[in-house]
């Protein structure tokens, strides 16, 4: 623009400016050809850069990442299945061990019971035998004692009779003692 030294020239310059360019530079059709030419060049360059280099590259990266993620997820699933399997095996082993322990306990209990029963029976038999033996001895003693009583009684009776100056009738004494013993 022309240098402005006074108000008048300033206004003149403004007026000239307003006259030379329309209100909107967008509607100045004289430079449309220039803009359209450069726009088309730009678009073609961008299109080729994108379609030849950038977009295939990004697509490849995205696909690769998707593949990696899919693989990782598959591997994780596999590991998870393995873990579940291991847990199942563990639980099964645990249950087996528990059953085995219970079986052993029951077995031991039965064994002990059988031993106990046998010992009890033996003890019972022994006690019974001893009791019988004792009874026999007691009855023998009792029989011995009766005999002794009879003897002592006979002797005593004989002595008493002779001491009284009588004739000892062994038969009569024995009969009397037998009668007394029964009575």
């Amino acid at each position: 623009m022309a240098s402005t030294t006074s108000e008048a020239t300033s206004h003149a310059a403004d007026a000239a400016h307003a006259a030379s360019a329309p209100g909107m530079p967008q509607l100045d059709f004289s430079n449309w050809g220039n803009q359209i030419f450069w726009l088309l060049v730009t678009l073609v360059v961008i299109y080729f850069v994108l379609s030849r280099i950038a977009l295939p590259r990004i697509a490849a990266v995205l696909a690769e990442r998707q593949g990696t993620i899919t693989n990782d997820i598959a591997a994780a699933e596999e590991l998870k299945a393995k873990a579940v399997e291991a847990e199942d095996a563990y639980n099964k082993a645990l249950a087996d061990a528990r059953a085995e322990a219970q079986r052993i306990v029951a077995e031991a209990k039965a064994e002990i019971q059988a031993e106990l029963d046998a010992a009890t029976a033996q003890a019972d038999a022994e006690i019974a035998a001893k009791a019988a033996e004792s009874e026999k001895a007691i009855s023998a003693i009792r029989a011995g004692a009766l005999e002794s009583i009879r003897e002592v009684a006979g002797d005593t009776a004989g002595e008493i009779v002779s001491a009284l100056g009588g004739e000892t009738d062994a038969k009569a004494v024995t009969a009397a003692i037998e009668a007394r013993m029964k009575g």
Binding site: H17, Q26, W32, W38, L39, I46, V49, L50
Partner: protein
């Protein structure tokens, strides 16, 4: 330009030049703009290409399974547009994905570069957006006729409507079809241009000392909004392209 403003301030008035930022200037001096002249348009388009290559080519050069930050952004952009094409336009539209990705990357990069101070926003020019929209329009129309033959005209014949209404609807559909590139292009350029112009207007008010704090706050708020708009307009342009492409591939309503 600076001398103009200076002169005006001396005169005690406020002078706004909110549209000066959109002026196309030759890069290496001179006045004439031929079709091949490198201009600020060229500069910022080249910067957009450089930014896209930096993000999508250099950023992904390590091809890491666990991505770096730039590679993450590149993959995010890829996934975002790929999914959009697949969801909106259908699985058979995936072969147009590089084309749609080109449009999206160019628009979003140009929009964000335009938010840099002192930059030139290429997408604020109708020359640019009209070409983008016409490319989409032509692609969709050609693909529609190549894929479906005359059946593509079924797009305008609403078979679910009562028979008497169909010719009227056909006319409306036909008009809306041809209005598509207009709305498609003006929506983008208009949004970008309006935001930038408003920021410039607020900046003009900052010359008054009393108003300048308000002006700074307003510029900050507008800038935040513009960041949003920069992405949303690229998104809208792209998703509309996908919708139009779906019409071309599956014209039945």
């Amino acid at each position: 330009m600076a001398s103009d403003t200076h002169g005006a301030e001396e005169a005690g008035g406020l002078v706004f030049h909110p549209m000066d930022q959109f002026i196309v200037k030759p890069l290496f001096g001179g006045d004439a703009i031929h079709w091949y002249t490198p201009t600020n348009v060229t500069l910022w388009m080249v910067l957009a290409v450089v930014a896209i290559i930096g993000l999508l080519v250099l950023g992904t050069r390590r091809r890491a399974i666990v991505p770096s930050r730039s590679q993450s952004i590149g993959e995010l952009a890829y996934g975002f547009i790929y999914k959009m094409v697949e969801d909106v336009a259908g699985k058979d539209a995936v072969k147009f994905f590089p084309y749609i990705m080109t449009l999206f990357m160019f628009i979003v990069t140009a929009n964000f570069l335009g938010l840099l101070p002192m930059s030139f926003t290429t997408t604020s020019h109708f020359a640019v957006t009209v070409v983008l929209a016409l490319l989409v329009f032509l692609t969709v129309t050609i693909v529609g006729f190549v894929k479906n033959g005359v059946g593509f005209l079924g797009l305008f014949w609403v078979s679910s409507a009562p028979l008497a209404l169909r010719p009227i609807l056909a006319v409306i559909e036909l008009i809306s079809y041809f209005v598509r590139p207009v709305s498609h292009s003006i929506r983008l350029a208009g949004n970008v241009m309006a935001g930038h112009a408003v920021i410039k207007v607020f900046a003009g008010f900052a010359a008054i000392a009393v108003v300048s704090p308000v002006s700074v706050v307003a510029i900050t708020a507008m800038y935040g909004l513009e960041v949003l708009v920069a992405f949303i307009q690229a998104y809208v342009f792209t998703i509309l392209t996908c919708v139009y492409l779906k019409d071309a591939l599956h014209p039945s309503h």
